[in-house]
Amino acid sequence: MSFEFTFDGHVVSAEPGQSIAAALIAHGRRTWRRTRTGAPRGVFCGIGVCFDCLVTVNGRPNRRACLIEVTEGDRVETQDGAGRADLAC
């Protein structure tokens, strides 16, 4: 049974058990982070090793999109850089 979450305000559908990254890729989205130098990043390792796919989930930054199973109503946002002070929890 598919359900919906939001990604930077846009409504995206997902299947149960899908990671945030998988749901975004299924919708044709490959890029969602910029590094400190502005380089685009998306998923690389897909298994929680590389930290390239970081997103902010329900206000919490630095979450690995490839590991977190998306749930209905989640608010997912892109983040620039990694571990910036203004993003720290």
């Binding site: 998988a22 490959r30 890029t31 990043r41 390792c45 897909g46 298994i47």
Partner: protein
């Protein structure tokens, strides 16, 4: 078999760290010997990378799924406590065993046990090339994980590149799921494998499995090119194509053989890097394996060099799921202090020997060519986290006098980012050794694989742990 006698206040007799093939086999074996077992794993469901699956998955596209179902059933009926979704960030010795520190992202949990079985597996080994940081370039395992774990194709037109027997498996899975695979580019020339008839004869099932993948490639008319690889990825913001080139025996690009192919995804992997941070945290000795990986030294009983630490699967040598299951079973039984009937032991030991011989033949058939460093230019990113280019690493060696990866890390920061050198550690070590005019040593890899805190934690979470103590 005699049940393990609890002689300590530890919560568990055995803590199994990792729920892939090795960890599942170890858990089931230890529980069957009467031990109280904790199975700790970061995944939401048991299976590890090999049996990664979706909730309610019927096992389509999975290999040896019946075995996984048996393990899962045994896990449920055997009284094992499965701590799913728990990342392990530190394991330490206590007065009567081990304390495994975990986090589920919210709270910390410490699992105490008399022995531990480390079954932490491996992840894809990467060699940097220009454009490999572009979105759309994935690890081969990542592409597999998206497909098996989430039912999602990484792209529509996919190039598969690197080295090793995993590449045709990934390509076959993609084709079966409906992707267009533009080619499988194998940097090595695996015909060498025919030189190991004995190892092949003892592992017929593995050879059949490989043959099935190649039949799938053939049926879809997908080329499998050897001595060729993806040497660059291009695109504005994401992958739009790759450059593929022929390689000589040392893996230098053969001039005039480069050609561009359009694709929207690349799956790349050059073998695997075992996860050995837990054995290193515990002080276990390591060695350089035939495939160039740092692995934990184990004896016949899968014991590491520190008492009470058992290691099974890729963490003591990359060899695939079947070998991991055998090693896991042996480790689980010994970790539970089981008395193993002689016949079962002989059977297990023989199977392990045959499977290790096959793994060794694979390592010899798919060696890395020393000239992979020539695909990079000075601008090529090596450390993806800290965005350190090859030129900066070479500068640290040539001009600043750094002679090992650890000192280069201090000068130029490769391996200092969030992944803690997991992705670039092998490449950085290789690049440093090459420019220092020597071979990569176990010390190089050890220096870069030591991670006292293996997962990112907030300071708040760390402080909570201290207060508990």
């Amino acid at each position: 078999m005699e049940p393990a006698v609890p002689t300590s206040p530890a919560d568990y007799d055995v803590a199994v760290l990792g729920a892939g093939p090795a960890g599942l086999a170890a858990s089931v074996a230890a529980a069957s010997a009467g031990a109280r077992v904790a199975l700790v794993d970061a995944g939401a469901r048991a299976g590890g990378q090999y049996w990664r699956h979706r909730p309610g998955d019927a096992g389509r596209g999975q290999h040896d799924w019946a075995r996984f179902q048996r393990f899962r059933a045994a896990l449920e009926t055997g009284g094992t406590d499965h701590f799913a979704g728990h990342s392990i960030w530190h394991v330490e010795r206590t007065s009567d065993g081990f304390a495994t520190h975990t986090t589920d992202g919210e709270a910390n949990r410490v699992v105490e046990s008399r022995t531990v079985v480390v079954a932490t597996g491996a992840y894809d080994r990467q060699l940097p090339f220009p454009g490999w940081t572009l979105p759309g370039v994935f690890t081969a395992g990542g592409v597999q994980a998206l497909l098996k774990g989430h039912g999602v194709l990484a792209g529509k037109r996919i190039a598969v590149a690197g080295t090793g027997p995993f590449l045709p498996a990934v390509a076959a899975g993609l084709l079966t799921a409906g992707a267009d695979v533009v080619g499988v580019f194998e940097a090595g020339s695996p015909l060498n494998f025919a030189r190991h008839p004995f190892a092949v004869a003892r592992n017929v099932a593995k050879v059949r499995e490989g043959a099935r993948y190649f039949r799938t490639l053939l049926r879809h008319r997908v080329p499998y090119l050897t001595r060729a690889t993806v040497v660059a990825a291009h695109g504005d913001g994401a992958v739009a194509g790759v450059t593929v080139a022929k390689l000589d025996s040392a893996w230098r690009v053969v001039p005039g053989t480069s050609r561009d192919l359009a694709c929207d995804a690349v799956a790349v992997g050059y073998g695997f890097t075992p996860q050995v941070e837990i054995p290193l945290q515990l002080g276990c000795a390591t060695r350089l394996d035939a495939d160039g990986s740092l692995v934990t030294i184990v004896d016949d009983r899968q014991r590491g060099t520190v008492e009470g630490v058992f290691v099974a699967g890729e963490a003591c040598g990359v060899g695939g799921a079947a070998l991991s299951v055998t090693e896991g079973e042996i480790a689980g039984l010994y970790a539970a202090h089981a008395t193993i009937p002689r016949q079962r032991l002989r059977h297990l030991t023989r199977r392990r020997d045959a499977q290790r011989a096959f793994a060794a033949a694979m390592h010899q058939a798919f060696p890395l060519g020393p000239q992979w460093t020539s695909w990079m230019d000075s601008e090529t990113t090596v450390c993806r986290c800290e965005e350190v280019a090859a030129g900066e690493i070479i500068y640290a060696v040539r001009d600043l006098g750094a002679i090992d990866a650890r000192s280069v890390k201090l000068y130029a920061r490769p391996g200092m980012g969030l992944c803690q050198g997991r992705v670039c550690g092998f490449a950085t070590s290789g690049l440093v050794a090459r420019h220092a005019g020597r071979a990569v040593t176990a010390d190089d890899l050890c220096g870069i694989a030591k991670r006292p805190i293996a997962q990112p934690l907030t300071l708040g979470a760390l402080a909570d742990t201290m207060e508990e103590e």
